[in-house]
Amino acid sequence: MRERETPGARLQQTLHRHPAIGPASVLVASVIAFSIANPRFLNSTNLSLLVQQVAVLATLAIGQTMIILTAGIDLSVGAAAILAQMVIAQTAANNHIPGVLAILLGVAVGALTGLLNGFLVTRIKLPPFIVTLGTLSIYTSIGLKYSNGQSVYASAMPKILIWTGNYVNIGPYQLTTGVILMLVLFAVTSYALTRTAWGRHVYSTGDDAEAARLSGIKTGRVLLSVYLVAGVIFGLAAWILIGRVGVASTNNLTNANLDSITAVVIGGTSLFGGRGAVLGTLFGALIVQVFQSGISLAGVQSLYQVLAEGILVIVAVALDQWIRKVRR
């Protein structure tokens, strides 16, 4: 039997109350370690690039976080964003509809992909893993068919489509409007999840769906809304992606599904639902990017970056299991 007041137990309780502390300290520690390995890591150009690079993944991870909070998972994240991206680029470049309308159309397609996932999960009662494994292939093939495998280049697009790639200078740092949009999305979803009744219902549904139902929460409707909102966010991520890459291609975002899950898990959100926060996911996405950048700057083979990511995921889940054991 362990004493309640051992340092370990106290740490466990603290992490239990503030789940974002874990990823935040990993982020700080890794930044310090990589800047010791190579001082250039900390210069403003590198840090700016790092944040620019993380925008798309972090945005996708917001939607992923919301779904994982409901004890679900979304494997179709990347495919949905690619489909939305192709719709935005093609309708604007080939069908010549106004750019704003094209973006709205793409976001609507993102919403539809979420709605279909949500419908299959809540009405047909299929497990989210299976549903999104299926729709991963479905959305990928629709995207390929729709675009005929053709890429659309920035030169053919209206300005508004690549607006998310515009630079915004803050002191010595150079961000993009896409980064700002990503940060705004984090703020909005964080507010919705922590300060509104809907957010409480999302947590409660993921925590114990039966208890939530008995408390009078319409859990099916909550789940459907989460998949729908996540779909909208994936649509917006597609817009950020076009601005960042400058080309709409079905070859973009090849690792987005697993990377987004990695960011969420490293960010301290429990795969069992009901625990976590989008703030942690922001740290999680940054950690992934910091490792990528730091390891290459340290002159280490990039395969170690993949290795490190794998270890981080396992450590994060193990930590989550340990934290969840908190009992009085």
């Binding site: 309780q13 239990h16 109350r17 507010y191 300060r195 509104t196 009744a197 809907w198 409480r200 219902h201 947590y203 409660s204 925590d207 114990d208 039966e210 208890a211 939530a212 139902r213 008995l214 408390s215 009078g216 929460i217 009901g274 625990r275 908190v326 009992r327 009085r328």
Partner: protein
């Protein structure tokens, strides 16, 4: 637990003695529920009056759970009707029952472990803050809900919980139960149904929950208590409804019968008529003018 407590010692304990007359807060008439060939309920009636604790006891398979599920909307009876304040109601779901003022604390405690106490008390009926923040941005009145939650808990004498922002999963079993009961009793509910509230608790914690039941009753809230624990039932109940083989084997009071007699009726070793030797006869069905054979002196604290 004496059996010879009689009318004389009763009423000064609780001046607000339930009248046991007039309109029952909750009434079930001739409920029948079958599952294929298995008869869950065979013509069971029940009345619950304002300000009383009605215990339901019975062996496994006697129909206790089925009865409670019908009253709380989790099951729809095949026949019979349910009345709340004399008005017939039909529950299609537990939510319907809640809207009608019937709150049930299920055995598996419908609380969200990862949410804090205040959030759990207000789960499903959150309050928004006043002004544009609440109207437009749907902001929750977190502070207000925490304050009222603290008041509600201390009203019910649950003083052991200091931090209302504690997550429910960090609470002890008794405290969790207290949170669940406090939630059931709040928000203008009319009836609180507790399904085996002390089954997983230790002696001290059970005492706290029973104290809570008494305080609810003293505030005029009628309580239905399902329990296996005879000493606890005889401690808090005003009347005891005995289920046996899907039927009501009788309604007794702690004053009219002993625990041994209650168990005998419950197991079929004797019948209500044979057991009614102790004098005043049992309150068959529902005794509107029955006195409470309860001395109420073992309220903890």
């Amino acid at each position: 637990m004496s059996t010879d407590v009689n009318a004389a010692s009763v009423n000064e304990e609780r001046s607000a003695t339930p009248a046991m007359s007039g309109t029952p807060t909750l009434e079930a008439r001739h409920l029948v529920k079958t599952f294929g060939h298995v008869v869950g309920l065979a013509d069971v009636s029940l009345k619950l009056y304002p300000g009383e604790v009605l215990a339901i006891i019975g062996d496994n398979g006697a129909g206790k759970s089925t009865l409670i599920k019908c009253l709380s909307g989790a099951l729809a009876p095949d026949q019979g009707e349910i009345l709340v304040d004399g008005v017939k109601v039909v529950f299609k779901s537990p939510v319907d029952a809640r809207l009608a003022g019937i709150e049930t604390v299920f055995q598996n405690l419908a609380v969200s472990p990862a949410l804090d106490i205040a959030s759990n008390l207000y789960l499903g009926r959150e309050r928004r803050s006043k002004g544009p923040a609440g109207r437009i941005f749907r902001m929750l009145d977190t502070r207000g809900m925490r304050e009222s939650a603290r008041e509600q808990l201390s009203d019910l004498g649950i003083g052991t919980i200091q931090d209302i922002t504690q997550k429910v999963e960090t609470l002890s079993g008794g405290q969790r139960q207290a949170v669940a009961v406090a939630r059931a009793a709040a928000f203008g509910s009319k009836v609180v149904i507790l399904d085996e509230p002390t089954a997983a608790l230790g002696v001290r914690e059970s005492g706290q929950v029973l104290g809570l039941v008494k305080r609810l009753r003293d505030r005029g809230m009628p309580v239905i208590l399902i329990s296996h624990n005879m000493p606890q039932v005889f401690e808090v109940a005003d009347r005891i409804h005995i289920q046996r083989l899907g039927r009501c084997a009788g309604v007794i009071t702690p004053g009219s019968h002993t625990m041994e007699e209650a168990v005998a009726i419950m197991t079929g070793a004797t019948t209500l008529d044979q057991a009614a030797g102790t004098g005043r006869g049992a309150a068959q069905g529902d005794g509107p003018d029955d006195k409470h054979g309860r001395n109420g002196q073992n309220d903890p604290e």
